[in-house]
Symmetry: C2
Subunit: 445 residues, 2 copies
């Protein structure tokens, strides 16, 4: 199978994916997009309703309103109280949740096939008919402040948030998803209501389901759910265009940020901009991250943990968005070792830039990635996320065998070149813990 | 199907479990126990090697040595260096890990069926032939200290560890699994070696696998792996008896412990002893925890988060071991709200003790639990863990339909009685955050 392009016109597609599952996609006249993957022998079904709106889309002074809205959709519709919604999800015993990202928001449930109708009905009701009642709004504000406080008490969360801001500066993707104490304390119900009305429309909606699901039945359930809750699906509309995927001009926020906390470890992130979500070099990046900071055999793990015993957790990562990205090296270590560990992390990347990786490492990484991918897609949730992501981010569906083939074609020189490119970018260092800025001065460029 | 008793004599068992999967169990002449569940249409296999030794079994001054040993088994055998072990796991791309609990230790891999032979071979080698090389030992000591430091920087980890100690006092199950900075800094290679030799023998070993696995093939792989690595399986032995399941005398550690940290939230745990792992009331406990502190519709969630906006995370739990247990109510909230939240958590338990739960709540909880269980056992890992736990903890295999039937038979009065029993036990309160002991004085009994 080759890649399948997903057009934004009203259309129907049908093809077979890895493992023999049957993928179907319909763009309805209303602009609602519905994707399903019927997985043989599966009992459960994972279903998500997503819109391509995230924290990056928030206007000034409304930071955190996307996440606030996600909470509020659980707080009652014209037909259902918050308790009704809670009971509906709890009664089926499946997991249900919602997540707000920087570029999209999703509402998700994993249920038995029998419970799919109720799951779709409730999520459709939440998405279309939430009241954003003023009292519920004010009740929820302190809950979100507690969520922010909880995250603020987790130094690994703190270092990752601060790193995005350090690398991406004033780009909207550099902001924390949840907003800040100040913006959440200030945001009004009307601002969130406006955000809701503007971004939750038929042409914004992507429904994706994987597992024991029949496509025609899913379409009927979704149309029924949306219509009964009040959406007019008779109005013709074309799905909103996908977010433009091209580089924004990034002005680095800070070279060095130390957030002082009286804790046991220092959490260090060193890095730069990385690769956008659709960068063709993302396969080389997968190999680089596996060799540099993936599993137990990776260079960072071997050098910093195994040989020197300096850290328990050490890894590298790329976080790609449509027009901005970060690449980072993380370690948690004793404050007295911060300088040594930072030097070693940078050195390991430099070594790859200078002399590349070995044939053995390349081969091991490819085996690791293809094995991991095959196991990953045993999960209906992973297949559901792949559908939603193909629709919202890429505009094409790339199946497992194609993905594996792309990783398999990565050459030694591409990995070395990528390491060189990463080192040539502006560096940011963020540390959270009982350390001082001077420990990192020598690494700032 | 009824419950299947698992005898400790050399024997073979075979039966069909929920979903039509085929379960087989063999006790080999050497005392090694092998359990498998062949799950139809599954591609991957999850496999674990476990021994029923945990932190509770450690002798004085060797606290943390079980967890230390778990780390060391990855550091090299007679045949494999640490890097060889890392490469073997990374090459198959499956997830692999190990976990040390208070009553058992497990080494685990999820791989494709094709990689089962290498996974079994490597884990068998690690378990039987680790060198515990002195240099590797000293390299690993600081890594474990960093792991402890990382946990110490997570206030939710801290409150849970301290709560076990508060409730269980000087009972061995009250100790933290990983030891302390002092014990890890002091423990010798010889002490860990002794621990290893004493507890990793054929009669201690339980191998469990679920997914795409053939029982006879698994037996051959395990026997080959263990023998080639040096175990003599020709020596007849009976499996070690299961841990005795009867109540120990518990002397509460502390009524109230406040661990002062300059963080945003206070993490509160209020509770007492709970139910042992095999307590017949554990089904009523499942219902109680669902109604009191389970999902979005639970009483704690509704009262503390939805109505009053006091917390983001609030729940209840029971942690049962063979002869000791804890039952706790958790909330993370603003320090100024600590008193109010603590009062509300206790009140919600008291309300159930006084007037019970409603018929609607009982029915909702039963639906939630049966739905959750059905979805849970779609995972090969969950099925593997069920096999290992049946063997090590219960001595019997209880299938999904029986488990659901037991939950379904729970009556209103049992839940109310259980809430009364829990309230009659010695209470412990632990708080981690920017609070003082006096805030909790009124709740101490």
């Amino acid at each position: 199978m080759t890649e399948i392009i997903l057009p934004l016109e009203q259309s129907d597609l049908s093809f077979t994916a890895s493992g023999g599952s049957s993928v179907r996609r319909s763009v309805l006249p209303s602009g609602v997009r519905i994707l399903s993957e019927q997985v043989p022998a599966s009992q459960s079904v994972s279903v998500s309703f997503s819109v391509a709106v995230g924290s990056r889309d928030e206007t000034n002074n409304h930071f955190g309103s996307t996440h606030f809205l996600e909470h509020l959709l659980f707080k009652g519709t014209k037909k259902r109280t918050a308790m009704d919604i809670a009971v509906a999800f709890d009664s089926v015993g499946g997991s249900s949740n919602a997540s707000t990202g920087k570029e999209h928001t999703s509402y998700y449930a994993k249920v038995s096939h029998r419970a799919l109708p109720i799951a779709v009905e409730v999520i459709a009701d939440m998405l279309t008919s939430s009241l954003l009642d003023e009292t519920e709004f004010e009740n929820e504000r302190p809950v979100i402040l507690e969520e922010l406080a909880m995250n603020d008490d987790d130094p690994q969360d703190v270092v990752h948030e601060a790193f995005s801001t350090a690398v991406l500066g004033d780009h909207p993707l550099g902001r924390p998803i949840g907003g800040t104490i100040e913006t959440i304390s200030a945001v009004s119900r009307d601002a969130v209501w406006e955000h809701y009305q503007k971004n939750y429309r038929p042409q914004d909606l992507v429904v994706a389901a994987a597992g024991n699901v029949d496509h025609q039945e899913l379409i009927q359930l979704v149309e029924k759910g949306l219509s009964e809750a009040g959406w007019d699906l008779g109005l013709a509309a074309k799905p909103v265009p996908r977010r433009l995927l091209h580089p924004a001009k990034i002005n680095r926020g800070t070279k060095l940020a130390v957030i002082h906390r009286p804790i046991s470890q220092v959490n260090i992130l060193v890095g730069s901009e990385g690769l956008f979500v659709d960068d063709p070099r993302r396969y080389a990046m997968g190999v680089l991250n596996t060799v540099l900071g993936g599993g137990m055999s990776s260079r960072l793990f071997q050098e910093i943990r195994e040989r020197r015993g300096l850290a328990y957790s050490v890894y590298s990562f790329n976080q790609g968005y449509s027009d901005a990205s970060t690449f980072g090296l993380y370690a948690g270590c004793a404050p007295a070792k911060a300088e040594e560990v930072t030097a070693l992390m940078i050195q390991e990347l430099e070594k790859i830039a200078e002399t590349g990786i070995t044939v053995g490492e390349l081969s091991l990484a490819k085996g690791n990635i293809s094995g991991s991918l095959a196991l990953k897609f045993e999960s209906n949730q992973a297949r559901m996320s792949r559908l939603a992501s193909a629709e919202i981010v890429a505009g094409e569906f790339i199946d497992l065998d194609d993905t594996v083939a792309r990783f398999d074609s990565v050459e030694l020189s591409e990995v070395q070149q990528l390491a060189q490119d990463l080192l040539s970018k502006n560096r940011s260092i963020v540390a959270v813990g009982d350390v001082t800025e001077t420990m990192f001065d020598k690494f700032v460029n």
